[in-house]
Point group: C2
Chain length 340, copies 2
DNA sequence: ATGAAAGCGCTAACAG
DNA sequence: CTGTTAGCGCTTTCAT
């Protein structure tokens, strides 16, 4: 097969173990032999067999990544590629590989996760979402396997590493821009209510209203997958109320795009007839018209920090559990109108 | 550490090799012992160590995936998640893992690819793009490492597995919808001209014009990254010509979204003032307004076929080189107007 | 500072 | 049909 450590050893006139030590830059090897061995490696075009190494020292230098089961359109949300970029960037610097879960259904994904961890394919896992009753998270926690969550865990807050925004505050802040512009009839449009991020964002939305002394009306909250016929109904009802909202807090930029379209169909213009704010600040939100006033949650940073945190945890098993909050900020664009 | 094959062997009163054979469902093991061994595995909660297995039989059951260097926004193109879904689906069924390239710059990606292949981490590689002078593709080809390309290779057409659409025909077809609606002043807006997909699509665009007897005007072709100030200039110039186009063939749905915005800024309406058609048919294209008339290239299928092809090639080294063309079809929506 | 040897968990001849 | 025995390529004591 390929060039092995033995070939290098022979070429450099040393023992295989010495080559191994050079590989890990062991300080107890003289500069002279290091030079010699390194030259031999170059000459022969040697590359260590990562599998063999993994087997020998029981560590794989690879991180597993779980996305939500790819069956739904959620994957087309630009959030994922962006967070992946953040992860990828630090993984590369730290010489870690990335192994992503396969499978379409929840069961398949779970199966692929088990394969990764029980098959000793990865040193740690990263979940790019957080939802209620998630089997993957439960499994990892129970097994005591190192992992990090992007989002907020459902319970066990102090036992699981997680990277999150302060989504409650973020929702307060973005709702406040509506309030400051004179809006009082403000509705919330969320996605999957099982996602903790949705929970937090409604919670913040409500708090903002409270603080402003605006009564909370439950018929002003709708949860919908985007663009399903059911979703369309929900939105229509919202605007057929006696007092339809003048402001919309939408849980996610991609959903906002969907909303924009539905509203257009109903002949409702943004921001003239209704103002809209949302979350994430993906690329799309700035190229769409109207450009969205949204919350920049620093997706890239989320991924970055998550990778760092996981790698630390993997390297040092009794690294304390961490909770890292990535700051957000409001970016105002053209989807909000000042009310008289 | 964990449960090993030896533990299972002991528990089932057989030799380790027997357990191994049960693992691979070797037909020369009696049903009785298979049952017994399998029970032992279940009881002990045994899972094979994939690394050890890889080392022993020199095959990793994992596929490497290369995306374009994630530095640019290209990654936010919903094309990638969708093709990944296709790949993931068959990878899972075939019990393959997916290892994605890390790094932000082209150099870093190249480095991570070398790590994968020379480090024996993957059995085959898949490139999710195809562009001129691509170091990764060159490297793989030269090394004779199994790989598959999504797109059309630049040269070596018969030496590299690839899955592609007939982009020339697709461009002809989509340009024809403009022509059939009476358009004659039709411009082409492409992205990175180094991508083979861009080449093919202009080529088809030109052929369509030719076949319709419409003269080809080079100032009607612009290549631009979306939304850069340079891009804006290019588009402005297009519409400041004596005879501005009445139809636009845009190389990609995401670019189309950017175009829509630029056009709006210039006060040009779609489809009233200019008609627009594009490629890919990502989710976005149906939820944006106007909904895009576009070419469905069956992204999921592209990924699916690519994975199948690669796995075949990996399993059987002298499987012939394949070229698979995934059919496209036109989906007409609301971005085109009939001209008088 | 370096070498010899055992072993990580599994597979694959080779026996029987 | 099943057991024995070598490795796969690397790391890591333990010597020297």
């Amino acid at each position: 097969m390929g060039i092995t450590i033995k070939d290098v050893a022979k070429a450099a006139n040393v023992a295989p173990s010495t080559v191994s030590r050079v590989l890990s830059d062991n300080p107890r090897i003289s500069m002279a032999t290091k030079k010699r061995v390194r030259k031999a490696m170059k000459d022969l075009g040697y590359h260590p067999n990562i599998n063999a190494r993994s087997l020998a020292n029981n560590s794989t230098q690879t991180l597993g990544i779980v996305m939500k089961s790819s069956a739904d359109k959620a994957l087309q949300n630009p959030f994922f590629p962006e967070v992946l970029r953040g992860v990828s960037s630090v993984a590369h610097k730290e010489q870690y590989s990335l192994n992503i879960s396969t499978g379409e259904t929840e069961d398949e994904v779970m199966e692929s996760v088990r394969r990764m961890v029980e098959g000793h394919q990865v040193d740690g896992m990263m979940l790019l979402y957080s939802s209620k009753d998630d089997r993957v998270a439960d499994y990892l926690l129970e097994r005591g396997f190192p992992y990090v969550l992007i989002g907020k865990p459902t319970g066990n807050m102090n036992e699981v590493n997680h990277i999150d925004n302060d989504n409650i505050q973020a929702a307060i802040d973005i709702t406040d821009v509506l309030i400051e512009k004179g809006h009082t009839r403000i509705a919330f449009v969320g996605g999957d209510p099982n996602l903790t991020v949705t929970e937090d964002r409604v919670a913040g939305y409500k708090l903002a209203l409270q603080q402003a002394g605006i009564p909370i009306d439950n018929s002003y909250q709708v949860y919908t997958e985007l663009l399903t016929s059911g979703g369309k109904e929900a939105v229509r009802e919202l605007f057929q109320m006696d007092k339809p909202p003048t402001g919309l807090v939408v849980a996610d930029d991609l959903m906002s795009v969907g909303m924009l379209t539905m509203l257009a169909e109903f002949g409702i213009r943004v921001p003239e007839d209704v103002s809209l704010v949302s979350f994430n600040n993906v690329y799309l939100s700035e190229i769409i018209r109207p450009a969205l006033t949204t919350t920049d949650v620093q997706i890239f940073q989320l991924g970055n920090q998550a990778a760092k945190c996981l790698i630390e945890n993997v390297k040092n098993k009794d690294e304390p559990i961490k909770r890292i909050i990535v700051p957000h900020n409001i970016v105002e664009r053209d989807s909000v109108k000042q009310l008289e």
